[in-house]
């Protein structure tokens, strides 16, 4: 299966959508704009019919794999089912057809929805206040660290260091640098927890914050979290919670109870908004009371029975984006939240953890499980005894494509060699997990008996393995026909 580029479908003079006739009297364009400011060349956009467009993108959609197509146990990404009612809600004209500069009295429904979402997310995370502004998880991280920076500056402290575990998401160190901090890495111990002694050694009066994911990227609950919080707080530092793995603990514990001061969430993970092939996401940030004055502005507030945008926040870090939020994404998350309620959210976390433990248990005899512990909503594992056959984790992942699955996350976290990270999520049934486990076991057998079959996989996808080296060495980043 291959599909030409939309530009290759172009035929001179063919039209798709025609705008209506202009109903106002027109002047010569050159009378309105000096010729030197006008475009001389025509942009080389395709000339295609509506049907050309619809067929082209429908065919492309069929070369794409989503949660609606099949099982997607991509660790750390929480690829759960995205309920359809949430899409419908976000597409209501009462939400999509609102201009962000409209008077507040004409958007009370939108503000009310944002206000409640702020409060629900504060409740779930155990924080005192939430901003919905950040556009994604990494954007939330930047917002959170800039809040910490502003808070410390306000207190007259100049702390320069941000500590991240060696198992952290790449965004953590990248964000710390972007926020102007120096990154210090702390290693993990044999149980997959932060090495407490190593932590004590690096925490000092220069420590601005420790960034931590809990459950960690190994899918393990950081058992010493209370002690860790104490170490950092005693040194005057703050605790930053990377909320990527919030799906495991809703209603069971919260970052606030663990001692975290700042939290970001990924609405596109825990709160079931779709990932969109890479976005749009949404990365709200929650903070404890003493950090609230530093939140980006505006914040949605309620006065009597009226909602409004509060700009009067002199200590605010400012804005991190245009306007107020990825509002359409927030509508989806709000819809999901009220469809679940407090009891439903807890049940989600319980079943996410149940599914992960069950799948780990099914695979335990066949793959190496480096940490012999209860996992949370995801777990890491790796093949064993395949090195001699020349079969790598990458090969196993590619072979899973032939079996109709999206493979787990591979080669992350960086501290486990040849690692696979599997996150089934709560929306998958027992039979899906059983079928997947059987397929993985079968692939492992193939790898042992017929390694070529696995090393040359995938065999049934629209394209085979792609040459990424040449793509990076001799970049072709646009159509030049």
């Amino acid at each position: 299966m291959s599909e030409p580029l939309i530009f290759e479908l172009s035929r001179p003079g063919r039209r798709g959508i025609l705008p209506p006739e202009n109903d106002v009297p027109c002047k010569e364009v050159e009378q309105l704009i000096p010729a030197g400011m006008l475009r001389q060349d025509e942009p080389q956009l395709p000339e295609v019919s509506e049907l050309d467009v619809v067929r082209h993108y429908t065919r492309l959609s069929r070369m794409n794999y989503g949660v609606d197509v099949g099982f997607y146990p991509l660790g750390s990404c929480t690829m759960k089912y995205n309920p359809k009612i949430c899409e419908d809600a976000a597409n209501l004209p009462g939400f999509t057809r609102l201009h962000p500069y409209q008077p507040e009295e004409t958007v009370q429904g939108a503000l009310e929805l944002m206000y409640h979402t702020q409060n629900y997310l504060a409740e779930i995370t155990g924080m005192d206040a939430v901003t919905l502004q950040p556009a994604a998880g990494a954007h939330g991280e930047l917002t959170g660290l800039l809040i910490i920076k502003a808070y410390l500056k306000h207190r007259g402290e100049k702390r320069t260091k941000v500590i991240v575990p060696d198992s952290a998401h790449g965004t953590n160190p990248a964000t710390a640098t972007l926020a102007g901090f120096k990154v210090v890495q702390v290693k993990s111990d044999l149980r997959g927890n932060v090495d407490i002694e190593a932590l004590r050694e690096v925490v000092d009066e220069d420590t601005a914050a420790l960034m931590l994911t809990n459950p960690s990227t190994l899918g393990l609950f950081e058992e010493n979290i209370v002690q860790i919080a104490e170490i950092v707080h005693n040194a005057g530092g703050l605790l930053y919670y990377d909320g990527a793995n919030m799906n495991a603990i809703m209603g069971i514990t919260s970052p606030g109870r663990m001692g975290f001061d700042v939290v970001h969430l990924n609405l596109h993970k825990t709160f079931a908004t779709p990932h969109g092939g890479g976005g749009p996401g949404s990365g709200p940030v929650g903070v404890k009371a003493e950090l609230e004055p530093f939140l980006p502005k505006p914040v949605v507030v309620k006065e009597n029975d009226t909602y409004r945008l509060d700009y009067n926040r002199p200590l605010s870090i400012g804005r991190v984006r245009g306007f107020y939020a990825s509002f359409g994404v927030v509508v989806k998350a709000y819809t999901y939240l009220i469809s679940q309620g407090g009891s439903g959210l807890k049940s989600i976390s319980e079943h996410a953890v149940l599914n992960a433990n069950y799948l780990m248990h099914r695979l335990a005899g066949h793959l190496n499980i480096p940490f012999d512990r209860r996992c949370m909503h995801e777990f890491v594992c790796r093949p064993r005894g395949l090195k001699g056959k020349g079969v790598r984790t990458l090969d196993l992942a590619k072979r899973m494509l032939d079996y109709g699955y999206h493979p787990p996350t591979i080669y992350f976290p960086l501290i486990v060699e040849e690692v696979m990270m599997m996150e089934p999520t709560e929306t998958e049934s027992k039979e899906t997990l059983d079928d997947f486990a059987r397929s993985v076991i079968k692939i492992l057998q193939e790898a042992a008996e017929d390694p070529e079959q696995v090393k040359t996989a995938p065999h049934s996808t629209p394209v085979g393995r792609l040459d990424e080296v040449t793509a990076a060495r001799k970049p072709v980043l646009r159509y030049n026909g």
Partner: protein
């Protein structure tokens, strides 16, 4: 509503296999002292019917631009979105996918991004584009950081005619690496190029100009580029892509990095987001770009295919040395823009741009004839313009709203010196009748 498929029996089987009695035991490693001993205070659960009712009721509390004819622009525009756009982005193979880490089963989104990158290059007149950014404001801030890294300088000049929110975001982003941001005044609705030149020295990494600018006026980009290049600074231009159907591309004027907000290309206004930031640059800056980039390559059988590429710039490889911390894009919004531009085609984009231009001038010329209303300055504009009003815009807007129209933006909010100035926008979705109603109401014809 629940989206958990487990039957009671299945749950029991699974627990039994794990050798535990209940779900509670799964969390045994979480210390008692940090456990939540009560239910989360979030209302629900609600059935789908109840949820639908609730959301309809909230949506119904808003007044949309279909109920009130709006003359607001200022970075977010009511352009018509062809029906096919929503149909394509509602294909759940697209919207329920993750970032295309497994290219063999992600050719759909990868190829559509490659097409998007191509279209952005064509519109902006630049060599390369990335797979998109969060929004126009953050894309512009990222461009400033990129320029600082590329030039190894730490001063950024930004015109006060750049969207005030974009400047706020720029200041926030600059606070991390502690870059110096200097705002350059305007004169007659455009960047004061003489003042700009006074600030230019060898420490300046970038000059940021918006085209058309926040007031809708057309800037002399070529002169700005020339001035910036004299001190080896880069010109960052933030451009409305709809205008590029008609206005000279920033690339042809000498821009080094072009960013902007793509919302006008098939993405609903949705009260401010999610929208679509874009970024394009000259080839020599390619490896400095933040964000995802898709490249063409071949598979093991020689067939054409697409992959995420130049990843050595990115956070998951480079960690603290990455060009940015961004690890997503606005893929679905970029797909909407790609479908939208395909439907409009070569002639269509120009025709939309021209309608905006003609309608904006039509409204402008009638408004300035009204007693007390004056043009703020006399410079060419695209689809937005500034009017000096006889009363405070707040009063005028109140009168308009009472009569079913959302008026323009009161500029005093962002520019204290522009008291009694209003920024009005007219796109192709406003009819002649809407314009006549606006003009009549401004002229004092109230019900």
């Amino acid at each position: 509503m629940k989206f958990i498929p487990h039957t009671g029996e299945e749950r029991q089987q699974m627990l039994k296999e794990l050798g535990i009695n209940d779900l509670e035991e799964l969390f045994a490693e979480i210390p008692e002292e940090i456990r939540l001993k009560r239910e989360l205070n979030v209302p629900g659960p609600l059935s789908e019917l109840e949820v639908a009712r609730k959301l309809n009721s909230l949506a119904g509390k808003n007044k949309t631009v279909d109920q009130l004819a709006a003359f607001l622009g200022a970075g977010v525009y009511d352009h018509y979105i062809p029906s096919a756009v929503q149909h394509i982005i509602s294909r759940s193979e697209f919207y329920t996918a993750y970032t295309p880490y497994q290219p063999e089963i992600s050719q759909g989104v990868l190829q559509s991004i490659f097409e998007f990158q191509t279209m952005i290059c064509q519109l902006t007149g630049m060599d390369v584009a990335n797979a998109s950014m969060y929004d126009g404001a953050s894309a512009t801030a990222e461009a400033a950081l990129m320029a600082c890294a590329a030039t190894r300088r730490s001063k950024v000049l930004v015109s006060k005619t750049v969207h005030p929110q974009y400047r706020e975001v720029l200041r926030t982003y600059a606070s991390g690496p502690e870059l110096q941001v200097i705002e350059v005044d305007f004169t007659q609705g455009c960047t004061d190029l003489e003042k700009l030149k006074q600030f230019l020295d060898k420490d300046v990494a970038a000059v940021i100009i918006q085209q058309p600018n926040f007031f809708g006026s057309l800037e002399d980009l070529t002169a700005a580029a020339k001035a910036a290049h004299q001190v080896k600074a880069l010109l960052v231009t933030c451009a409305d892509p709809v205008s590029l159907g008609l206005i000279a591309s920033p690339g042809s004027c000498g821009a080094d990095i072009v960013t902007g907000e793509g919302q006008g290309l098939g993405i609903p206004m949705s009260y401010g987001g999610p929208h679509l930031g874009y970024m394009a640059c000259a080839a020599k800056l390619m490896r400095r770009m933040p964000g995802r980039i898709v490249g063409e390559t071949k598979d093991n059988q020689g067939r054409r295919g697409y992959v995420l590429t130049l990843q050595a710039r990115e956070q998951h490889i480079r960690r603290e040395k990455a060009t940015s911390n961004i690890c997503s894009n606005q893929a679905l919004c970029a797909l909407a823009a790609t479908v939208h531009l395909s439907l409009l085609g070569r002639k269509g984009l120009r025709s939309v741009a021209e309608q905006c231009l003609q309608k904006a001038y039509y409204a402008y010329e009638q408004i300035i004839k009204l007693p007390g209303y004056q043009p703020a300055w006399a410079v060419p504009f695209f689809k937005e313009f500034v009017i000096k009003t006889p009363q405070p815009p707040e009063e005028i807007n109140r009168r308009l709203l009472d009569n079913g129209i959302i008026g323009g933006l009161d500029l005093e909010r962002y520019y204290p010196q522009l008291k009694n100035h209003m920024l009005l926008c007219v796109t192709e979705t406003r009819t002649k009748e809407d314009i006549h109603r606006l003009v009549a109401l401004l002229g004092g014809d109230v019900k």
